[in-house]
C-alpha cells in the first residue's frame, strides 16, 4: 500500500476485530493493534521494535517461523491454519485465562521502496472450533446411544428366548393334567349320570375347551412372534372349511339364535393348496368374534374369487355381522396383541385379545392382507385377502364326504401297546381305546415297552416321550433296531407341543404324532392311517 500513510494504516488497524501485527525486514515488530494487546498476558509496553522471535519464542521451529522467513526473504504470502497448529501465538481469551485462542493466520508480505514489510493477520476461530467439537461430541454421544440400544435389543432378544423356553415347558406342564381332565370327562359322559351331573359335566367340558383355546392362542402367538410358526400346506376346499367350522360353532349359534348365511363363489368349489388348519383357525376366530359381538341378527360368511390365472387365485373372505360395531379410532390397534375394541367390554365379552393378532400374523405369514370395515351400532365386516395356489383337483366332494363320516361309529380291533408313566394318562387312553374295540396292553416306561415289544406282537404302539428309566425316543430307537421285517407303527402321544418336537419324534423313528390333551376323535385321526 504505497500511497497509504503509515499512521493512517495504524489508526485503521487499531480497533479492528482481528489481530494485526507488522514486521520490518529485520524481523522487528513495528506495530500491533489493541486486539493483540488485549490477548497477551505479558506487559506489551516494551515489545515494539524487538525481534518477533524474541517476543514470541514459542513460534521458533514452527511453520509460522518459516512462513515469516519466506515472506520477508522471498515475498511469499502464507496461510497458517489452526488445523496443524491450533495456537501458534501465545494469545489468550482474556488476561486471566488459561485458554489459548485458536488461530487462523495470514502472512502478507508488502513491498515498499525495495523493502519488504510483513503484515501478520490473526483471526480467532475458537468459537467455530468449539462448535465443531460440540458436533463431534454429539456424534460420539449418538454412537454411544446406538450401542446401548443395540445391547438392549440383544437383551430383549435373549429375554424373548427365555420366554419361549418358559412357554414350552409351561405348555408341557399344562397339557399333561389337561389330558386327564379332557379324557376322563369324556369317559365319564358315557357312564350313567343324572341330569344335574350331566349339566355339571358339560360345564366342565366347555370350561376345559375354553382353557384349551386360551392356551393354544398364547402358544400360537408366541410362536408367531418368534417366527417359529411354520405353515403346513396341503390340498383343501373352502366348502369343507366353512361347513366344518359351522359344525364346531353350531352350539353357540343356536344358543344366540343367530342366522348364518353362507355364500361361496362356485368357481371356488375346487382344491387349493394352503394350511387348512390355520385357515380354519382364522375362520373360527372371525366367526366366533361375530357371534360374540352380535346379540341377535345375522352373520354372513362370503368367499369370493377376485381374480385368477392358470395357477393362482386371489380370494377374499368376508365375515359380516350386524353387531355392536367398532369405533373408527380403535380400528388401527385392533389387530395388535391384547387389544379389544373397548377395554371396558373386556368383562362383558371376555377373551385374551390375542385372536385378531393371531389372525393378522397368520394372514401376513400367508402373504395376505386382513382388515375391517365397521360402523358403530350397525355391525362390522372383517375381511382377508390371500392368493392361493390351485391344487390337484381330485373329486373334492368325496373328500368332503369322508370327513363327514361319523368317526365315533367306527369299530376297530387288534392289540395296542400303550406306553405312559402317568397313571391318569394311561387310564384315559386305555378307556378310549377299549371303547373303540382295541385290546390294550400298558407299559410304564420305555424299557418295559421294549421288553413287551420283543415278546408280543402289536398292531400299533402309542408312546409317551418323557418317561423315567427310558424315554420314548430311546425306546423307539431300540424297537426299530430289533425289528426285522415287520414295521410296527409307533405314534407319539405327548404333551411336547412346541415347534420341533414333532421332528424329534420322527427322527427317533416314530410314524406319527398326537398332542395331549386329545379327544377320542383326535386319537382316531392320529392312528387311523396306520391300521
Amino acid at each position: 500500500m504505497p500511497d497509504l500513510n503509515p499512521l493512517l494504516f495504524q489508526k485503521i488497524c487499531l480497533d479492528l476485530d482481528t489481530g494485526i501485527l507488522a514486521l520490518d525486514n529485520n524481523y522487528k515488530l513495528t506495530f500491533f493493534n489493541k486486539w493483540i494487546a488485549d490477548r497477551l498476558v505479558f506487559d506489551t509496553e516494551n515489545i515494539l521494535n524487538r525481534n518477533i522471535f524474541d517476543v514470541f519464542p514459542e513460534i521458533k521451529n514452527t511453520r509460522l517461523e518459516s512462513s515469516i522467513n519466506d515472506a520477508i526473504k522471498m515475498g511469499l504470502p502464507a496461510i497458517v491454519s489452526n488445523i496443524f497448529n491450533r495456537s501458534p501465538f501465545p494469545l489468550f481469551k482474556d488476561k486471566d485465562s488459561n485458554d489459548k485462542i485458536f488461530q487462523n493466520i495470514n502472512i502478507i508480505p508488502i513491498k515498499q521502496d525495495n523493502e519488504t514489510y510483513v503484515i501478520v493477520q490473526i483471526n480467532d476461530v475458537s468459537a467455530s472450533i468449539q462448535r465443531e467439537k460440540a458436533l463431534e461430541e454429539q456424534a460420539r454421544k449418538r454412537k454411544k446411544i446406538e450401542t446401548e440400544l443395540r445391547t438392549t435389543l440383544e437383551k430383549l432378544k435373549h429375554a424373548s428366548a427365555i420366554k419361549s423356553d418358559f412357554l414350552a415347558s409351561m405348555s408341557h406342564e399344562i397339557r399333561t393334567p389337561m389330558n386327564g381332565i379332557v379324557g376322563l370327562s369324556q369317559l365319564l359322559k358315557k357312564t350313567h349320570l343324572n341330569s344335574t351331573q350331566e349339566k355339571y359335566l358339560n360345564t366342565i367340558d366347555s370350561s376345559v375347551n375354553l382353557l384349551l383355546t386360551v392356551i393354544n392362542d398364547i402358544l400360537d402367538f408366541s410362536k408367531l412372534e418368534s417366527g417359529k410358526l411354520l405353515l403346513h400346506k396341503s390340498d383343501f376346499n373352502f366348502n369343507n372349511i366353512v361347513s366344518h367350522i359351522l359344525e364346531i360353532l353350531d352350539p353357540e349359534i343356536k344358543q344366540k339364535n343367530l342366522e348364518v348365511s353362507v355364500e361361496i363363489d362356485t368357481e371356488l368349489n375346487s382344491q387349493y393348496i394352503g394350511d387348512e388348519n390355520r385357515l380354519k383357525q382364522i375362520f373360527i376366530n372371525l366367526v366366533s368374534n361375530a357371534i360374540k359381538f352380535t346379540a341377535n341378527g345375522n352373520i354372513g360368511i362370503k368367499v369370493q374369487l377376485l381374480k385368477q390365472n392358470t395357477n393362482h387365485s386371489h380370494i377374499k373372505v368376508t365375515i359380516s355381522d350386524n353387531g355392536i360395531g367398532i369405533e373408527e379410532s380403535v380400528i388401527p390397534s385392533l389387530f395388535e396383541k391384547f387389544t379389544q375394541a373397548d377395554s371396558s367390554t373386556t368383562r362383558q365379552y371376555g377373551g385374551t385379545g390375542l385372536g385378531l393378532a393371531i389372525c393378522k400374523n397368520l394372514i401376513v405369514l400367508m402373504g395376505g392382507e386382513i382388515g375391517v370395515d365397521s360402523t358403530v351400532g350397525k355391525g362390522s365386516n372383517f375381511w382377508f385377502e390371500i392368493e392361493l395356489e390351485k391344487g390337484t383337483d381330485s373329486s373334492s366332494e368325496n373328500a368332503g364326504n369322508n370327513q363327514n363320516t361319523k368317526i365315533s361309529e367306527q369299530v376297530f380291533s387288534g392289540s395296542i401297546l400303550l406306553v405312559d408313566d402317568v397313571m391318569v394318562n394311561r387310564l384315559v387312553a386305555k378307556s378310549m381305546l377299549e371303547e373303540l374295540g382295541f385290546d390294550v396292553i400298558t407299559a410304564e416306561n420305555g424299557q418295559e415297552a421294549v421288553d413287551l415289544a420283543c415278546s408280543q406282537s402289536f398292531k400299533l404302539i402309542l408312546m409317551d416321550c418323557q418317561m423315567p428309566v427310558m424315554d420314548g425316543f430311546d425306546a423307539t430307537r431300540k424297537i426299530r433296531e430289533m425289528e426285522d421285517q415287520v414295521h410296527i407303527p409307533i405314534i407319539a402321544l405327548t404333551a411336547l407341543a412346541m415347534k420341533g418336537d414333532d421332528k424329534k419324534c420322527y427322527n427317533a423313528g416314530m410314524d406319527g404324532y398326537i398332542t395331549k390333551p386329545y379327544k377320542t376323535e383326535d386319537l382316531i385321526a392320529g392312528i387311523q392311517e396306520w391300521l
Partner: protein, 204 residues
Amino acid sequence: MGSPPVLSELEADLLNEIFNLGVGNAAASLSQMVKQEIKLSVPELSFLSIKELNRELGDNQLLSCVSQAITGAFSAQSMVIFPDKDSLEIVGKLLGENISEESLAELQDEAMSEIGNIVLNACIGSLSESFSSAFNVDLPEYVRSTPTDLIEKKKLDGESLILFIRIELTLSESKITGYLAFLMGVESLSKLHNILKETLNKLI
C-alpha cells in the same frame, strides 16, 4: 493457440531441477509440520494446451485445487491440483485416525489450502532463488470443481498454455498423484524460456 516453447534438453533439465528442489523443500516442511515422513517428487514436466489439460485431468472428475497468482519475471496462475477423493485421503492421513468422516470433510478445504500453499510457496521460492528474481504472490485460493469450471473461473483465454508437472506424494504407504500447473499466456511463456536461457548461460 500458442505453440509450446521448445526447450533444449538442458533447459528442461534445469526447470525440472528447480521444481524438484521446490517440492523437496515442501516435503520437508510438511513432514516437520505433521511429524510424519512425506515424500514429494516430480517425475515429469510438459507443456499442454487447455484442451489437453482438461483431458489430462479427466473431464468430469472433481478436483481439489489451490491457486496463487504470481507476477514478476513472468506471470502465471500457479496451482496445486489433487483429485478430490485423494485430497480427502491426504488430509485424513495427515490428521491421523481419530477423526470422524464428517469433521474430515469440514477440515478438507482449510487443510488443503495450507498444504497447497506450502507446496506452491516452495516451488515459487525455488524459481525465485534460481532466477534471482522476486515475484509478487497472492494469498492462496481454494476451489473444488471440475477441470472445465476451473479453467472458466481462472478466465484463461484460448491462447494460454500450461506448464504441467505431475507430482507424486508418498505418505504412510500411499502414493498419491497430483499436479502442479502454471497457467501462462504466450508472452509469459517466452519470458520464462528466456530466463531459463539466461540462467543457464550464467551457470556455464
